[in-house]
């Protein structure tokens, strides 16, 4: 923050900044006084034992629950108390711990639904079906198929989303999130339920997404190998509080982290 150069802060300041963000359910603090910042095109891991508040932190950032205190800045704009769809519009996309695809739709439609975000065509357009409607639909279609092809799901575009294999469903969820053209992608335990080969592939995939789409990624993950393997920086939560932050090597040696995991 340099008051001498207003307007420049957009580039200097981190993409996402949580300042003492707190989420309380009744008397229980799921997240307390969390400071977290994420730079542009950075890949950060968020780890911690079960119930440490990782998913709660996601829900806080994406507006599923409004924060009970603190502030959340994204791209220099306050996000606290915005609705989830407004936050998505601002450029934050996410996946879910337990896959949440649109179950009645095809693979194509799942992605198409998300791709609409930046094509503001509505009721009148859909009813009139004029040229601009057709062009818009074609453009979205093209984008969706391109995305699906990038991730080798093009051949399944007409299949029901729920008919995909587990790993492909996880992949589809990531594609759907990318279709909103986010600046920040939140991945909630993408490796859950995967075997070693799939995990290795996932690590390559995350790296690929970061490079190709130039997004920042915040990754919640249980699997230490995955987190340590790809994250540039790691934040450790326990009981809703940040107990450590640093490079994978620093985290591995951090006494508090060891205690939190072993004392679990």
């Amino acid at each position: 923050m340099n008051p001498a150069r207003p307007g420049a802060e957009k580039f200097d300041s981190p993409l996402l900044q949580l300042d003492k963000a707190t989420l309380r359910f009744g008397g229980l603090a799921a997240v307390s006084d969390l400071d977290l910042s994420l730079g542009r095109n950075e890949l950060v891991g968020l780890i911690g034992p079960n119930g440490a508040g990782k998913t709660s932190a996601f829900n806080l950032i994406t507006g599923v629950y409004p924060p009970s205190g603190g502030s959340i800045l994204f791209d220099g704009r306050p996000m606290a108390n915005r609705k989830p769809h407004q936050i998505a519009r601002a450029g934050i996309a996410r996946t879910f711990q337990n896959i949440r695809l649109f179950a009645s739709m095809t693979v194509f439609d799942n992605v198409r639904t998300a791709a609409r975000l930046h094509c503001p065509r509505g009721v009148r357009n859909a009813l009139w079906r004029g040229r601009s409607f057709r062009d818009g639909e074609k453009e979205i279609s093209g984008q969706v198929m391109e995305l699906l092809e990038i991730f080798q799901l093009g051949k399944f575009h007409a299949a029901a989303a729920t008919s995909l294999s587990y790993g492909d469903q996880r992949r589809l969820e990531i594609i759907r999130a990318l279709a909103t053209k986010p600046k920040l992608l939140l991945l909630d335990e993408p490796a859950a339920g995967m075997n070693a080969t799939e995990k290795a592939e996932l690590m390559r995939l995350i790296q690929f997404i970061k490079d190709r789409f130039q997004v920042s990624i915040l990754l919640v993950e249980h699997d230490m190998k995955v987190v340590m393997g790809i994250c540039e920086r790691i934040v450790v939560l326990d009981y809703g509080m940040k107990i450590a932050e640093g490079t994978p090597a620093e985290i591995r040696a951090h006494p508090k982290v060891i205690e939190a995991y072993l004392g679990d």
Binding site: F25, T55, N59, F96
Partner: protein, 301 residues
């Protein structure tokens, strides 16, 4: 002043009846998280059960007397308890793992089935409910009049509330019900027989609805197969008002709705009386959806 007092007493009697029905809604909701739309019809069936068994009871116990009235009440409760258990077993249990909407639609179907079958079997024209307890003014003071039937309604309701409280708080069955409402998976792991508890809950709720039906018929002795629709809906509103899933809340909600409705009908306009409960429902859902005594539920993401 006398008129206000009179309206309050009338409202209290109506409110107790609604409270008894509301308890059934709230118990079932607490355990299965679904609105048993057909619950109001068990209220109707309770009244008809009383209608058909009272001659038989009168043959043994020449009435009308308090004793014979209570026997009719008890038998009607028993019959409806069995009906409630059967309905749950046949229509709802196979759907337990299905989407809530499926169960709701089924409940609407059951409700329509009971109402229309009732019209066919009992006849659509209203029937006069026999005098199963002696009805006479107990207290006449100026314009104020309290009848024996109103006292019976209040007394029986109070008795049933105390009994219910005992069952829920002091018996093993009640403990299991509470465990199931609190956490179904954990309760099942602890060896609680879910099906058995659900059956018991339906039986208990239906018996209370039947009692409400008899009490209603004692105060307003004209019964027909569609009589359960409005009281059923109003009782549901009462359950929501009190905080659905919360037993004292249901009782409180019932009394509040009964009194409000009677007061509005008495002082403002009687033609709007049936819209009042819905108005209250909309307001409560917009302002405090968890109800007066309910706890806020957090949706897990």
């Amino acid at each position: 002043m006398t008129e206000l007092l009179q309206q309050l007493i009338n409202g209290l009697a109506l409110g107790s009846i609604l409270a008894l029905i509301a308890l059934g809604y709230t118990m079932v909701y607490g355990i299965l998280r679904f609105i048993n739309f057909a619950h109001g019809d068990l209220f109707m069936l309770g009244a008809f059960a009383g209608f058909y068994i009272s001659p038989a009871v009168a043959a043994v116990l020449p009435g009308p007397s308090l004793g014979s009235g209570l026997v009719v009440l008890g038998l009607a409760m028993l019959i409806c308890a069995v009906l409630g258990v059967v309905i749950e077993r046949v229509a709802y249990r196979p759907l337990r793992r299905r989407p809530k909407l499926t169960v709701l639609i089924t409940a609407i179907g059951i409700s329509l089935f009971l109402e229309n079958t009732g019209q066919l079997v009992f006849g659509a024209t209203p029937k006069k409910f026999p005098e199963i307890i002696p009805v006479y003014p107990v207290l006449k003071f100026g314009g104020l009049s309290i009848t024996s039937s109103q006292l019976i309604v209040l007394g029986v309701t109070l008795l049933l509330l105390v009994a219910l409280r005992h069952i829920v708080l002091k018996t093993r069955m009640g403990m299991a019900m509470r465990a199931l409402a609190f956490n179904p998976e954990a309760a099942a792991l602890m060896g609680i027989n879910t099906d058995w508890i659900v059956s018991f809950t339906f039986g208990l709720g239906s018996a209370l609805a039947a009692a409400a039906g008899i009490l209603f018929a004692i105060v307003y002795p004209s019964i027909d197969p569609l009589m359960g629709i409005l009281p059923g809906l109003k009782a549901f509103v009462a359950a929501v008002l009190g905080g659905i899933g919360n037993l004292p809340g249901a009782a409180l909600g019932g009394i509040l709705i009964g009194v409000t409705e009677t007061l509005v009908a008495g002082y403002l306009s009687s033609t709007y009386r049936d819209a009042i409960a819905f108005g209250i429902l909309i307001v409560i859902l917009l302002v405090k959806p968890s109800g007066l005594l309910g706890k806020k539920e957090i949706e897990k993401v």
